[in-house]
Symmetry: C2
Subunit: 432 residues, 2 copies
Amino acid sequence: MGGPSRATPHTTSRAAVLDVIRAAGTISRAGLVAATGFTGATISTVVRALIDDGLVRETGRAESTGGKPRVLLQLDHGARYAVGVHLDPMGVTYALTDLTGAVVSRVTRADAGGDDPAAMVARTARQVDALVEGAGVERDRVLGVGLVSATGGARPLPSMRHWAHFPVAEELERACGLPVVPGNDATAAALGEYWSGGVGETSVFAAVYMGTGIGAGILVDGIPYHGASGNAGEIGHVCLDVDGPPCWCGARGCVEALAGPAAVVRAARADAGLARAAELGAAGAGGADGGPTDGPGGGGRAGRSEAAEFAAVVRAARRGEPTARALLERSARYLAAAVRTLANVMDLDLLVLTGPGLAVAGSVYLPAIRSELEGAFFARASHPVEVRLSASAATAPAIGAATMVLQSRLVPLRPRVRLPEDLSESAAPAPR
Amino acid sequence: MGGPSRATPHTTSRAAVLDVIRAAGTISRAGLVAATGFTGATISTVVRALIDDGLVRETGRAESTGGKPRVLLQLDHGARYAVGVHLDPMGVTYALTDLTGAVVSRVTRADAGGDDPAAMVARTARQVDALVEGAGVERDRVLGVGLVSATGGARPLPSMRHWAHFPVAEELERACGLPVVPGNDATAAALGEYWSGGVGETSVFAAVYMGTGIGAGILVDGIPYHGASGNAGEIGHVCLDVDGPPCWCGARGCVEALAGPAAVVRAARADAGLARAAELGAAGAGGADGGPTDGPGGGGRAGRSEAAEFAAVVRAARRGEPTARALLERSARYLAAAVRTLANVMDLDLLVLTGPGLAVAGSVYLPAIRSELEGAFFARASHPVEVRLSASAATAPAIGAATMVLQSRLVPLRPRVRLPEDLSESAAPAPR
């Protein structure tokens, strides 16, 4: 019989119950039955297990609404903690969150992680220890460390090729004595915005992240959309000109090659007056020039990262340099078109602009993106897409990295139901 | 506490079990436990209910593998049926499928559905009756009728504005005496390919559908990805030129405006020699010219639909008309870039080209799309994306429409878990 050997994906009842309790704050067993659709028996069993694990506690009774008062449940905030680490050329941000994703403590080190992986791992492990001890949290309550970057936690910078074979996660795990969950900074940024409660009711939500490159993290009902290989949301390679300049990805006219931070900096450097006014450094080796043989745009050289150079161009525009302003407005037009494509393909209802690039240049990019979406969607009588600047651009990826640990250690999505070959059995004739 | 009031989405255990049995063909209860991760008790309960409903039957025993032989289960193919109707300007296709989505009978009427909604509904109802009776299927075993088109089942052609307020689904329901499930033809095409077993193991699969317009249907693990408002996969409005021609959607440089079938026909008409050679009709009123005031490209006039005119251009190219060939190759370049964007954003692992437009012109579009994806993904060392021409372009949407009925009537996705405001209760101090 036809059809691929796979059933519908689904999560555990434990996951659903824990998530509803987190979202509600306090809720009764009856409330959980109504919210999840599970039977009272299932809810009782799941809640009992969560209480036994110390994750949930009974916290009081709902004011009687006629019937007998109902016992309320809530997460035991301090039952578990997680650390999130965001490796970014602009610096490394650490966040310690409780079971609810609320930030207990955080710190940023203006340090791209250096160029020596072993040293970076040692430094990171020391910082994690300091963060946990400083907050007075019992170490055995820390579930693990989420490690995110533009390269999925593997390297602070895409251009650090010599890191490619260095097992950062494994080494950090050894150094910290804690499980390490690696991830993508754009997806972590989306999770951070979501768990921080900043996005409210939304079904399909994307965080557009502009750091050295451009990416997007996508959540569907709060669950990261990963795609077939964990590379979903690659809007940096949305094509905006079939005859455009070659991109390192092998294609032409990608938004990153046309208008990403590295492209803006490249154009600014090409303008002697602007380069001087913005105090840009000379183009360096490594990933800085974003050419076809290069990794994702920038930051590979010693000295200022591409993101820092981009910030310098933004400052020049703020000071009134017309060429700097024009470069950013052109970049914003292109990014707006790429974002419209993302909104069309994924059918988003909310978009948050984040990452260091958009944190410094949001005043230019936000209006361009809003007007692009309003024009297109109004005419099609489609629903509006809300666009916001992140209120926590600097810390959202680190918070999201911590929530990745909470999700993976407490409420793992049940592995997609697969049908092993050996389960498809050949029938012997039925007894007559 | 932060976080939106919503838990993770999940489907019923009945859905998962039914889908695993469908995919396996035959499987034992032990196999179901292993495949779904549910307990033996849950499986027994669910299977019992499915047998009582007559959907599943015990079919024999697995050859003994040491232990005692296990009873095998399979869907009762003939227990339920569904009808799928695909309204397309090229004609209306009807398919009757059994419980497994296998086609029992199908027919195509070369008839765009006419211009009178009431007459179309009456004609469709008569055809559904004839199909069911002709196949000797008991009517009370037919679950319903899936009705799909470029406008979500509402109208055969986007340009039929006077249909906008005609309740096609409700009227057809009345005329047939069967529930009608309306849907989008691109999503139905993807479901049809999936249930027909043509796509095999795939996690994120898209069917790119080119009819009068361009769209994509996306399945994640076999479940349609709808987005926030059911409009996901709108690749017709992927921007490929920020300074491009205005699109009816309100934006500029959309692939549909640059290179969709209507744009190709428009360009062909502008070339007197080619228009003659391809025997194109003059541009008509209504949706034919795809201008900004118009609905999705084409087909609004009496006489040949835009899709038929596009087919005429394709035939001219086959006969060696260089200008026709050039127009199609240019269109293919643009569509390839849009498809690369779709593959990047959704992280696809399989793509099937379907719909009347790609069925007639696949020999031009397939190589262009393949080379575009190979170039881009190879350089990024990402996984390859397999691209195929549909083997059942003509019937996939109708089959998918029928499977929409099977899905919605037998294994409805449990509504997304929401947390009504009134479930979030205020805590009274816990008794000490």
